[in-house]
Point group: C2
Chain length 152, copies 2
Amino acid sequence: MPAHLRFGGGLGFSNEKMINILIITHEDFGATLLKTARNIIGEQQFSAAVSIKSNEDPKSVEIRLEKIIKAFNIENGLLILLDLVGGTPSVVCTSLLKKFNNKIEILSGVNLYMVMSAFTHRQKLTLLELKEKVLSDAKASIMDLKGNFFRA
Amino acid sequence: MPAHLRFGGGLGFSNEKMINILIITHEDFGATLLKTARNIIGEQQFSAAVSIKSNEDPKSVEIRLEKIIKAFNIENGLLILLDLVGGTPSVVCTSLLKKFNNKIEILSGVNLYMVMSAFTHRQKLTLLELKEKVLSDAKASIMDLKGNFFRA
């Protein structure tokens, strides 16, 4: 499997009802982020990380992502965790939103806690509920340690 | 240089007044995060990424981190970007906060936008101002793309 595409425990092809998780980042920190989350909370099927090079053509990225999305059981829904708004990844994501509108949701600002939250809650929630949960957990994960724990 | 410790452009030993940036994560996605941020916004001195294994002894991690912190010019201040609160990294960070109290600030929830924000603003701001700027940029980077750009 090419380095830019690492699946977390395989895409999975059972009929199990589980929201799919796709991490999309500039370059390949998404793959190590996925690996770290799996090492902490356990093996995860129906998940993948895709890295996009800064100079990649948006159209070819889109074709690549569409293939991956179609390999998932998209009927179960897909939560995309994107690194940031700006550059090729988010341009392509806006295009994907139009194509798979009611089957995918996209959150930017991916960090370790968001990936862990998505994995932890995806079996119990609808796609919309999962998006809201991960969004709320994401905001809670951004913390000023001194302000929170060591106020003078 | 060992894989767990990758310096972004070297620690740097000039007297240049620049706040140091240290990324601390479970395992090694911090190193690729740092590399990605540097590839997007350019070479960065006075920055490093440290990975911590889940089963590492907190005391030995603390000794390792103290050595790195002392290799920086700590008088210029140090902003630590931590992956999440929980586990060995944050246990050690709370201990570091006590030791280097007025020279370091720590934010959790590190994502690509936080690293880029820290690099972009660290020459113009005080440590406290930088912490507030990165905190505010971090919260802004967490976005619901459909909600923001595609409201029906």
